[in-house]
Amino acid sequence: MNHIIKYSLVLLALTWVSCDDQIYPTLEDKDPILVIDAFIDNKSSEQQITISKTQPYFDETRIVGVDDAIVQVSYGSPATTVTFTHTEDGVYTYPAGFGQVGDDFVLTVSGEGETFTATSRMNRVPVIDSVTFTYDTFSGFGEEEEFYLGEFWSTDPVGEGDTYWIKAYKNTEFLSQPSEINLAYDAAFGSGNGDGTPFIQPIRQAVNSFGDDDAEFESPYADGDSLYVEIYSISNEAFEYLQILISNTNIPGGFGALFAGPLSNTYGNIQNTDESSTEEALGFFSVSAVEANGKKLDVSQVPKEE
């Protein structure tokens, strides 16, 4: 992690002349499109599926929910069907997660004369052996900074093609920036890059938030902070979807703009059952098995020698 900070400083030295300003262009107004946001899992907590409509890019109102859809998920063999019920603003809920690893799931959403469907499978997920903290220091521009880094430990099972979404919570608050989406293909970043080994260090340590770019340097964790990590198994298709989502939401500013890819649309796995219909739906349906572990930082327990 140390090197990332140094790297940023070096880049800073390079880019003292570059700047990044907010502008206010006028964008075209387009008709809203249906969005189905359906990531569910096998946790015992409440499951949510959100049905909404796209809205103008600079619109600051709340999500435009669709409240009269029929939302059902069937799974297993023989198939069991559960119906999600609308609460408010397009959020449909079911009291707890369901199904088990290996089950196939089908989502069906009907409304406004159209029916949309998508499928997913619940894949295996490895346990998290432990969550740890390490102490490190970093000095730049004459100031010595000390900090604590969180890390989780887990090993990808043997067999290529497992994909995961690792979520981290600091003091129960989800690290929710697009830049903090932590995906793994087997134990590493991409297909064929590492199978059956412990997750690689950049993935193990992507559970640390360094705060805003502009703010003062801040240790990701301080004495008494907790770190809770969850590994969600996801399908390869969901992995690809989230990668495209990252590239369209986590766009490098400043000097990084040189190496940005073109903006594209983020298309998911939701299909209209009527192939002749021109109505489409954005979003994704994904089912995960989840493993979790956590720890509270007690600095007296963290060794401080280099």
């Binding site: 030295a13 390079l14 809205q55 940005a260």
Partner: protein
């Protein structure tokens, strides 16, 4: 086609056996340092017969037995005339020209404006001499070959800091950049701020944008032919400078007087050295620097044999600490042998090696490590001949054999002490070419150069062919089968005939019309999906999935010189370019360390057209040029922009530049350049939605690519060169101060516009704020000062 060519060659040979003709031949050189002069004109007074020296400074003219007055001309040099007696047999005449009024001692630069603009066969080309390049006010005061070229028509770039350059709508990877015949795969240092060519070692820079002669092949947009100095073969000299970014030193001199010479030039940046007192970032092995070393030696064995050895080595280093960081660089080595058979057949045999590689290392200890290097390497042999058949016909023929090795990834990943090799297999390609062309004068006014290049390419084993199934346009293609090939087996073969045609019609001594057509083929591809090309981009060979890129271009132009001494040059050119098998990428394409990369590539067509205008003033205290390009560059790829044509990221409708130089006094020259570029296209969303309560996803309902233009770009740079010390004529040591200000009026020129959600966490129940942001790479004025010397 082949038969026709053969018949033609035989006819030409028949013409050779014309009785009582003799040849004058030799080299034209600079009297002060022995450097050969490329493109010098040799004229026979009282006739319309003449010839231009080739890239090695050689000429040959065959004439009926008689005595002649031979005149030699070259821009910036005094004309010489001498008597030639061709009644007794062939004559070898090497001419040394003295440079005319270009010395600093003269207030008025009385460069002898030649009429090359009008009379030269080659259209669509821009030559920049090093003196001009060093006068242009530059970023951080460093004279730069590629940034200077961006001031001529038809050349554009994605934006400041982007590496490479775009020619007539071609992408960065479609330019053949040659340094002493060897291709340079990445022409930039520090991303795109500086080019890898050290101006102290460069002799001639020639960019060919259209009407590409048959001797060049392998890329479809342009050829940038850079020739290194040979080194002064009369006396020892040196030059160098201390700048804001680099320090430079170049030495040259004779090894054996008039027979052998050398030049060696090096540069190193010292941002890290300068920064060290202010930060300890660079302690513990961290580094940020780049350097290059260019060297060349040549030996005149005798009148008919000359050998050259040249090499380049450059590297950019970016290290976080002792073990971590990345670096990249080019290496080239060239050996050439010039041999003159008889008096009319000039041969050049080149063999070169070119290598581009990069290396990345991450991980703080051996238990958690990632190492990756990637490389492209070429070995090449190129015999080339020019046959000076008679004053009206100059034949060029030759060939090329190249072996290419691609190492997309040699990589290992170590996690908790468990190591895995994730390398991809190397790929091998074999490329050969044959060409034949004739440059023929027909009557007094018409000159045509017609030729053909035949190129043949094979992807060879050991290796694999990947077969993919069909899918929706724009989606990742599923891999269906992998077929293994043994060493030497041909995995895929392509060949192409590439006709090349240029014509010039001289209306009068100050007016000409030129036209050209060329077909070009490119078998290797630069895979890059970012706004600017970056050092980690990988070159990949054509295969059963990736077809060779094909380019066709037609161009027509009017060339006019004005003023009593051709003081002004005007050129107006128009081109249309059509390309096939252009590479684009699926959304979410994995381009690095991906065995199945070909499943992520899309293929489409390109078209580009434009009008280029250039007015140049060569003489007087005020000199310079105005360049304007009106252009359009588009791609059509199934799976992008609903399959409809879209503008490329470097498409600029208007591209206007002025470069001006003014000699204020004998000591002081000031210079200015101004650039205006239409905004380049980018993609704007029109709506948004939220995924998982956190991620605000932008969406374009029409599925468009590059649907909006970013604001226009304009910038003024100023520079001044001040000669230090006494102004004495025979001074040995010269020194000067170069002061420059880049982006004088501190305009925040847009590089790109992007859309993003705010970093700050939204209130519960409300949406993350969305905003549009504009990036300027150089958002303020950048002053610099450097000190240069020569002795």
């Amino acid at each position: 086609m082949k038969r026709l060519l053969l018949a033609h060659v035989l006819t030409l040979w028949a013409l050779v056996s014309h009785a009582q003709d003799y040849s004058i031949s030799g080299y034209i050189k600079d009297a002060s340092n022995g450097e050969t002069l490329i493109g010098a004109t040799v004229l026979i007074q009282g006739t319309s017969k003449g010839v231009v020296t080739n890239v090695y400074g050689f000429y040959s003219l065959t004439l009926p037995a008689d005595t002649y007055q031979m005149e030699v001309r070259y821009i910036g040099y005094d004309n010489t005339t001498q008597m030639v007696d061709l009644t007794q047999g062939n004559q070898r005449i090497d001419v040394e020209l003295s440079s005319g009024g270009q010395e600093l001692e003269e207030v008025v630069v009385s460069a002898d404006a030649a009429d090359a603009n009008v009379t030269d066969m080659q259209m669509s080309s821009n030559k920049l001499d090093i003196e001009t390049i060093t006068k242009i006010p530059s970023f951080l005061g460093e004279a730069d070959v590629i940034r200077s070229l961006q001031l001529v028509p038809g050349v554009s770039t994605v934006g400041e800091g982007a590496s490479g350059f775009n020619v007539r709508g071609g992408s960065v990877g479609q330019n053949m950049v040659l340094l002493d015949e060897a291709p340079v795969y990445n022409s930039s240092h520090l991303l795109g701020f500086f080019s890898v060519f050290n101006p102290d070692a460069v002799k001639d820079v020639n960019l060919i944008k259209g009407g590409i002669p048959a001797r060049y092949g392998g890329r479809i947009a342009s050829v940038l032919d850079i020739r290194m100095k040979e080194g002064n073969n009369k006396e020892f000299h040196g030059q160098g400078g201390i700048g804001t970014i680099f320090s430079r030193l170049a030495l040259e001199g004779p090894i054996v007087k008039d027979k052998a010479s050398f030049v060696i030039a090096g540069r190193r940046s010292y941002i890290d050295v300068l920064a060290r007192p202010f930060t300890d970032v660079f302690d513990g092995g961290a580094a940020l620097n780049f350097y290059d070393l260019t060297a060349k030696a040549n030996y005149n064995i005798n009148d008919n044999n000359r050998v050259f050895v040249s090499g380049y080595l450059g590297r950019d280093n970016f290290k976080f600490d002792e073990q971590q960081g990345f670096n990249w660089g080019n290496k080239t080595a060239t050996i050439r042998w010039n041999h003159i058979f008889g008096d009319r057949l000039f041969a050049n045999f080149t063999t070169f090696f070119s290598d581009y590689d990069y290396l990345l290392s991450f991980g703080e200890d051996a238990d958690d490590q990632f190492d990756w290097n990637s490389r492209i390497r070429t070995y090449d042999f190129k015999p080339e001949f020019s046959f000076f058949l008679n004053p009206n016909n100059e034949l060029a023929f030759g060939g090329e054999i190249a072996v290419q090795q691609f190492d997309p990834a040699n990589a290992t990943i170590v996690s908790e002490g468990q190591s895995q090799n994730i390398s991809l297999d190397p790929k091998y390609a074999f490329e050969t070419a044959l060409y034949l062309s004739n440059n023929q004068k027909i009557g007094k006014s018409l000159q045509v150069e017609y030729g053909i290049r035949y190129s043949n390419y094979s992807l060879v084993g050991p290796g694999q062919a990947y077969f993919y199934g069909d899918t929706l346009a724009g989606k990742r293609k599923p891999l269906e089968e992998v077929k293994e090939y043994n060493k030497g087996e041909i995995i895929q073969n392509y060949d192409n005939f590439e006709p090349r045609l240029s014509a010039k019609y001289l209306i009068n001594s100050q007016n000409s019309i030129k036209a050209s057509y060329n077909k070009t083929t490119q078998y290797i591809h630069l895979i890059s999906n970012t706004t600017a090309s970056n050092p980690l981009d990988v070159w990949t060979p054509s295969s059963n999935n990736i077809k060779p890129q094909i380019g066709h271009q037609v161009a027509i132009g009017w060339f006019r010189n004005l003023g009593p001494e051709n003081n002004y040059e005007l050129s107006i050119e128009s081109y249309y370019r059509k390309t096939k098998n252009q590479i684009d990428y699926i959304d979410g394409a994995e381009l690095l360390i991906n065995e199945e990369i070909e499943g992520d590539l899309l293929s489409g067509d390109g078209r580009a057209y434009g009008l280029e205008l250039m007015l140049k003033k060569n003489t007087g205290r005020l000199s310079g040029w105005v360049s304007y390009t009106l252009a359009r560059t588009e791609l059509q790829v199934d799976g992008i922009n609903r399959g409809e044509w879209y503008a490329t990221r470097y498409d600029q409708l208007h591209n206007f530049k002025i470069a001006a130089f003014y000699d204020v006094t004998r000591r002081v020259t000031v210079s200015a350049n101004f650039t205006f570029l239409s905004g380049t296209p980018t993609t704007y969303p029109n709506s948004k939605y939220v995924i998982q309560g956190s991620y605000v996803v932008p969406h374009n309902n029409n599925d468009e690519r590059n649907n909006v233009r970013i604001p226009n770009y304009h910038r003024l740079d100023l520079g001044a060169t001040i000669e230090l010390g006494k102004l004495v004529k025979q001074k040995k040591f010269h020194s000067e101060l170069v002061i420059s200000v880049y982006n004088v009026y501190s305009r925040r020129n847009p590089f790109s516009i992007y859309f993003t959600q705010s970093d700050t966490k939204p209130q519960a129940g409300s949406l993350a704020e969305t905003q549009a942001r504009q990036v300027s790479i150089v958002g303020s004025f950048v002053p610099s000062i450097s000190y240069n010397f020569r002795f």
